[in-house]
Symmetry: C2
Subunit: 665 residues, 2 copies
Amino acid sequence: MWTYDAFPRAAVKAAHGFEPSQEWLDSLRLSSVRLAGGCSASFVSPDGLVMTNHHCIRSCVQDLSSPQRDYLATGFFAKELKDELRCPKVEANQLEKMTDVTARLQGATKGLSGAAYNTALKAEMSTIESECATGPEVRCDVVTLFNGGKYHLYQYRRFQDVRLAFAPEFSMAAFGGDADNFHFPRYGFDAAFLRVWDANGQPLKTKHFLSWAKEGTKEGDLVFVSGHPGATQRQLTVAELEFQRDVALPFQLLYLAERRGMLREYASTTPERFRTTRAKLRSVENALKALRGRHQALAEPSLLADKRKAEADLRAKVGADPKLAATTAGSWDAIARALEAYRPLLAEYRLKESGYGFSSELFDIAQQLVRAADERPKPNPERLREYTEGQLPALRQGLLREAPIPAELEVLSLTFGFNKLRETLGADEPFVQLVLGRESPEGLARALVKGTKLFDVKERQRLFDGGKAAVEASKDPMIVLARRVDAQAREVRKRYEDTVESVLKKNGELLAQARLAAYGTTGYPDATFTLRLNYGTVKGWEEGGKKVPPMTTFAGAYERHTGKEPFRLPDSWMKARGKVPGETPFDVATTNDIIGGNSGSPLVDREGRVVGLIFDGNLHSLGGEYAYVPETNRAVAVHGEGLLQALEHIYGAGRLVKELRANQR
Amino acid sequence: MWTYDAFPRAAVKAAHGFEPSQEWLDSLRLSSVRLAGGCSASFVSPDGLVMTNHHCIRSCVQDLSSPQRDYLATGFFAKELKDELRCPKVEANQLEKMTDVTARLQGATKGLSGAAYNTALKAEMSTIESECATGPEVRCDVVTLFNGGKYHLYQYRRFQDVRLAFAPEFSMAAFGGDADNFHFPRYGFDAAFLRVWDANGQPLKTKHFLSWAKEGTKEGDLVFVSGHPGATQRQLTVAELEFQRDVALPFQLLYLAERRGMLREYASTTPERFRTTRAKLRSVENALKALRGRHQALAEPSLLADKRKAEADLRAKVGADPKLAATTAGSWDAIARALEAYRPLLAEYRLKESGYGFSSELFDIAQQLVRAADERPKPNPERLREYTEGQLPALRQGLLREAPIPAELEVLSLTFGFNKLRETLGADEPFVQLVLGRESPEGLARALVKGTKLFDVKERQRLFDGGKAAVEASKDPMIVLARRVDAQAREVRKRYEDTVESVLKKNGELLAQARLAAYGTTGYPDATFTLRLNYGTVKGWEEGGKKVPPMTTFAGAYERHTGKEPFRLPDSWMKARGKVPGETPFDVATTNDIIGGNSGSPLVDREGRVVGLIFDGNLHSLGGEYAYVPETNRAVAVHGEGLLQALEHIYGAGRLVKELRANQR
């Protein structure tokens, strides 16, 4: 997960006899696309065509669907350019510039700790970002690298007119369902194509895009992944890892597991419930499985033993250097103490402020309107980070999205959240009383959803534009609830930020600087949803003494078809059986070090050509959150050859195939 | 949790100025009743009246209900003796005799280890039990004390004609629902009355029963609990505790959480689904919360720090004694290695053999029929433990119970289990293939439930009586499935028993003996669902700096009533409002050290009179699995005075009140 400015070209040459040129790197970087919702993508034509995963735009497909036209079920293909449908809430970013701003941030926080450190750090970030963002088409993010050892300013070009060109059936994108998720051999056709349109309502002309490879990649090939790994936590202290294992992950896992049970059962009752729920259900299932894998990695004694060794080594190095010792020797204990403070606070913080107690699109909208009204009049550096000027375009896009909100599912989710609030904090807790009073969770949820007008985009617009006066005058029950809980929710957030987050961040930064002083930048920084490039090879692994080959084929997909979900190939595939030769590669495993957020990344060969589309990892890759284990950690991609063949012969997506083949080399 | 033969009378006298006489102890012991399903109870009249918790006989109430007469909803009161209804599956036991058989078992396993140790131990247990059990009315169990430091033979009188006399509404027994479960202040009226009937169809005449106290107990009073704590694990090694925290508990918790989400949603859709599901749902919720409390206790660093200290102390003592060192110094490592073997095996074992993959009443019946046919022809000591002669009466009672099995809920549960099998072990795993083939989990579950005849008690009787020939000839799809998976299920069980269980047991026994040698029997043995007596006082505790008083009142219950489930008092209580004075005590907290299995235990005063009915503990009591913390661990009981008042003035249960008052003193 190398940053582009520190890619180890020499090491690649030494290992593989190929040294990427600066031009090669620049071209790949500018062809890479970030989907701001949390995915990766790439330009694959000069006319703004973008390749990503189906699961990255699943909520767009859901938003564009209705009971009459269910694109998640049937798939979607825009026969002509004009048929492409705008996604209500997709923002694409293209990284144009990176600037080191470490000195400026370190200057702003010099000598500070605790809440003061945190406030100063965030304020300076907001200031730098607003200086950089000269218009809504420019997105500027101060990003943290090496856990605060370095800070960079990333400047992106922002695109909000992103349209859906092609999506396969959900059941084909996620063939094998939750049972096969994070498994390999795999037969997921998790691909989709979008197109970026410019301000004039024309397809974006782009110089930078990736060509499709004429020959498919094969076992042993050198391959690169350019994308945006979301977050790794490989520099956590042992105390932080133990906290994850014992406290944070169990809390999240139990929440997700129960939610999954509820959603599955709910979705099973009527076709309409199934239609409105399946995308959310899949997200919950994916998160549950991913976090479970992380928990299992931490529960393996070997991982923590390695971490203890590394920590002891760094402690010795810090202790041996008087200057480092003075600043940093106390950091491990400071972190451990902050975690002890976090332990009794975690559930409260998660439930009251970070979404677990109010799991609802409508409540999110209400809260954003209430907070935007409070925050926007403040000077930019003093605002909550998600309401700074740089964040407003995304906030506005989300608030004003024209996408259906299924009312019944809202009731279900709110009921679930309110129940969790009451069960976890106790029926007598003041915040719980403030929310529920003498009402039942379900009764309150029903009344809120029935009474709110926030389904209506115009009403949201009115409240957003009307600011504090409009929001305070509103009698909308969801707005009233968001107003009522806001002071207490902000209070717990402040308590968390002042006593936990700031200490972990400040001391994490000190440890990161110590690590840089002791070892230099020999490795790459933890993933922070910033653009990274890495290299690996097409390769299987050994599982329980058996070899797992790195490729699957179309024939294998047809063999796995049982006719029963989730192992049912859709009609398009059954009708086209035989049109793609059985030996054509389907999915492929590689040694690239990826993590969630890399989804949708192009897999490219040494010519910089597309040879695949990353969409998943194997089960062993889940521990990659904490450590990369080369023997077993594998990325999983749709094979480029299979992808193009299926587009052409199964989906008859002639227009797109032509566009892709035009630049094939 | 003292055994009756080692109750520390002198210590009680020193602390409280009261020394129970042997007669006092014998009378309390013989008045104590064990409900073989996993609860405690007591005789409270000379005519076989038995007091226990509603939640202990919830499944009986469910079994006796139908869509037309829903006793869980309405409660049940037999106006006359003849109206008492027999519970299809309740067995009551009265402890008559305890014999030390340690020498015999140690002789049988001398010099053995691994599978040989395990086989010899179980065979000798079965032999001892069958020698003791002279008829179906005698139940004999070899019980383990001090983790195998001692073995006793417990001889019980067995009663299988147990009838329901009184049960309140489920919503009153569990007032506050899952939100208030394990919380205090509490207003649960978790009481029920059964009656044991003798072989002649008459109420059992018993010399031994408890009188009701004339005055209610109050803060500071010395109180005793006589009952059957299910299991504590206070002697586990640090490696075993870490394994629970990191592997075993997370696996169980996630299973239960997802099941809870599913069942709640399922139960919410129709009244009939609610009726058939709520008892099961409550059990799942209770287990989930209890295990979560255990996990949280283990995740507290202080608990494991204490355990590490205790372990280091014992290790030092073992190391200092050459004889002990020779037998036992390697035990900690042996246990740790067995756990490493268990780690990759746990999910497989739980799913294939211990119920997680086949969570279904009908499958359990099928498996019992298949296995009984295989096991019963074998000599007693060679059988699986649950099919030995001593177990047959309970097995037969369960198999032949006349209780409805809700078909739709069976489909739901089976589907859930099959999904878990496939998700956890992988779609390609041979056992998964053996179960599912090309069928979907739901499709298979539906076909099994639709095709089976095991709903019919006569068919079960036919197959049980017909033995191997009948079972092998059966084409019942549930029987066919149970037959098909049996070899592989037995194989994983054998692997677990030979490589894990036997090592943990053998070395646990060695450590227990070392502990006895080093410290003597200063404490009481871990709970093993054997009769225990303990003492404590009526006392509140401090929570987050605030005092929690030890008593609640009737007035408090009415204040807590919101009119919405689970805080809705039933009509009986609303109609009788004011009939019981508001200051009458409702629930009460005490310092007694109890654990699951103690539910239904009588709380008695120094006169041996009933002053309450144990039904729960506070949240802190959940860590009692691993350690008793006197500052915060509290048992929770229905107060005896409130219980009697409610029976009389709210439920008008005049006949029972008269029976109880007849011996009040």
